[in-house]
């Protein structure tokens, strides 16, 4: 009787272990649309932070969900993924926001010069501050 109980217990443990393992393995991606933004900012402030001190800005922004306001300076579609560049006060550099494939469908409604509010994950600074998985807030 006890042997049966032990075997049953072990089986149960395996079963839950397998479920937990499977859940961790298939952990969903961060849902930018549902998560609250860690930092709200404007395109100019964001670019200024990175061009002034990239290391400090990386610590502050890298991997975080950022909500950014700016004026569209360029719209591009590469591999079905839309990218929006936001104007800044600086001579060079902008904030480059690549949209999620779903959000890219509504890119046709956007116009250059239009003000926009975007939310995405900051991945760093090249010539521009780069955001991935962006969604359009308005």
């Amino acid at each position: 009787m006890t042997a049966k109980k032990i075997i049953f217990g072990i089986l149960l443990l395996f079963f839950f272990g397998a479920i937990i393992g499977y859940k961790i393995y298939n952990k969903p991606h961060v849902n930018v649309a549902q998560e609250k933004a860690a930092i709200s900012s404007t395109a100019s402030v964001l670019l200024e932070a990175f061009s002034a001190d990239e290391t400090a800005a990386n610590l502050k922004y890298l991997g975080k969900i950022i909500q950014v306001k700016g004026v569209i300076s360029k719209i591009e579609i590469v591999n079905k993924k839309g990218s929006i560049s936001l104007e800044t006060e600086a001579l060079f550099g902008s904030v480059l926001c690549t949209l999620t494939p779903e959000e890219s469908l509504s890119i046709k409604e956007l116009k250059i010069g239009q003000e926009i509010l975007l939310k995405g994950i900051c991945t760093g600074f090249l010539m521009d501050v780069v955001l991935v998985k962006c969604i359009i807030k308005n």
Partner: protein, 180 residues
């Protein structure tokens, strides 16, 4: 400080002023593929910065590691936190020369690029074979090559070693446009 800044600005302007000679893309694509008996791992980055100097045939590429998007969130997390340590080394770079750049025509031309690639803080000399196409309004470069994880001090724990290939296939596609 102000002088330095102004000087920097002037250099920057000068760098891009004769801009017709420079071709650039901010939305280049790099993807990599790890094939192993256990599972295949794929990731894509479509925000790669690549600049080609049409005078000298020099090429410079900068890649943000966190811009690589994976199918599974867990893989992306392991990639960033454990393998390439993207908080310490947020960028990978390549600097090199396109050999016989002048011979590239408007039809697909095979070329070799010699250069130095830096990933995870480690630099390696590399020769990449690519297909190039050059017109007045675009320089398109595509190709693929293999990198060895051990060359870049990327340490894969033994428990997942049979899930991750030692040689990773890297594919790229850069459609450079004249910089205005």
């Amino acid at each position: 400080m102000k002088i330095i800044y102004t000087l920097f600005l002037f250099l920057f302007v000068a760098f891009f002023a004769n801009g017709q000679e420079r071709f650039l893309t901010k939305t280049g694509t790099i993807s990599f593929f790890s094939k192993s008996p256990m599972e295949n791992i794929e990731a894509e980055n479509s925000q790669v910065l690549s600049i080609v100097d049409a005078d000298s045939g020099q090429m410079a590429i900068a890649i943000l590691m966190q811009s690589f998007l994976f199918e599974k969130a867990l893989m992306q997390e392991h990639f960033n936190e454990n393998y390439v340590e993207s908080e310490i080394y947020p960028k990978a770079t390549f600097k090199g020369n396109i050999i016989d750049f002048d011979k590239i025509s408007a039809t697909e031309t095979p070329v070799k690029i010699f250069g130095v690639i830096t990933i995870h803080g480690e630099s390696q000399k590399i020769t990449i074979e690519a297909i190039a196409k050059k017109t007045q309004v675009a320089i398109l470069m595509t190709g693929d090559f293999y990198i060895n994880l051990a060359d870049f001090a990327v340490d894969i724990p033994s428990i997942v070693r049979n899930k991750i290939a030692q040689k990773i296939k890297v594919s790229f596609r850069f459609n450079h446009k004249p910089y205005k």
